[in-house]
């Protein structure tokens, strides 16, 4: 039996890349900015893996394009944005997630009703 903290980690493992692609959908962002966007939407990575290796993989796989630009007058930052391929990956990933979530909800919802009755 996976303890709850471990389960959250396992669940995040499968969807964190999707979440990164999703927050990039709001516009190009650098690493820390994406962490902030995730946090604003209620997803904290404290106690979880880092997004940086994930960003590296997304870039290597061609799902994101990058460019360097100054941010608010500060030093140049590396901005990540969705590529065409990334947009397609995001769309299919959302479909996969929603169908998986619906199926799991159906199973767990039923179990919850049985437990509480």
């Amino acid at each position: 039996m996976v303890v709850s903290g471990g389960r959250r980690t396992q669940l995040l493992r499968g969807v964190l890349d999707l979440c990164l692609l999703a927050v990039m959908g709001a516009g190009p962002a650098y690493g820390y900015e994406m962490t902030k966007r995730l946090g604003e939407r209620g997803l904290s990575i404290v106690g979880e893996g880092s997004i940086y290796p994930l960003l590296g993989r997304l870039e290597r796989d061609g799902l994101v394009d990058t460019h360097r630009a100054a941010s608010n007058g500060g030093p140049p930052r590396k901005y990540y944005q969705l590529s065409r391929q990334g947009q397609r990956a995001l769309a299919s990933g959302i479909d996969e997630w929603q169908s998986t979530r619906d199926a799991v909800d159906a199973v767990l919802g039923l179990a919850k009703a049985e437990v509480s009755s």
Binding site: G31, T35, P53, G56, R57
Partner: protein, 189 residues
Amino acid sequence: MSRFVEECRKEWGRLGVPDVEANEMAADLETDLAEARTDGVSPEEVLGNGYFDAKSFAASWAIARGVVRLTPLDRSTIRIRSLLLALSALVGGVVSGVGLLILVRPRFGSQAMAVSPVGRRFNRPAPSIVVNPHQFLFEGPGSGIDPLGWTLLVAGLIGLVVILWIWRPWSSYRGGTGFDQNVGMPSFL
């Protein structure tokens, strides 16, 4: 440069990450951590668990970006080290196996004395040995050479533990970082 970023730089240098890439990653990390500090955000919130293991974090990031370069020399060194470690492990296993065999062998001590009546005996505290021109036979009910068996067994096992101890951190430098490069999370989770 923060200590965390310095440690990452060292790891990238050791992994043969080109300076251009290492500089870029270090700069991005440094500016992100500085901005987080200004916002009152802890490094852990930015780096997740990676903050507690700079080497693994740096290695997984570099591998994920595909910028780790192992030279032919590295590969050759890895092969030689692997071979040496495997041979050492084999020797350790054989030594501890011999020790174990000595400890669990059938006890023929009294027969040994009977078949070597003309043997010359060296009186040593333990083990005492009976010598004849053709063979060495250990004297007594077997307890006399138990120390030898124990010594070999313990020495062999210690050797194996030491080899394992050397192998673990070293093996992590071969590309397996203990960090899941695909998702940026510790692979043991």
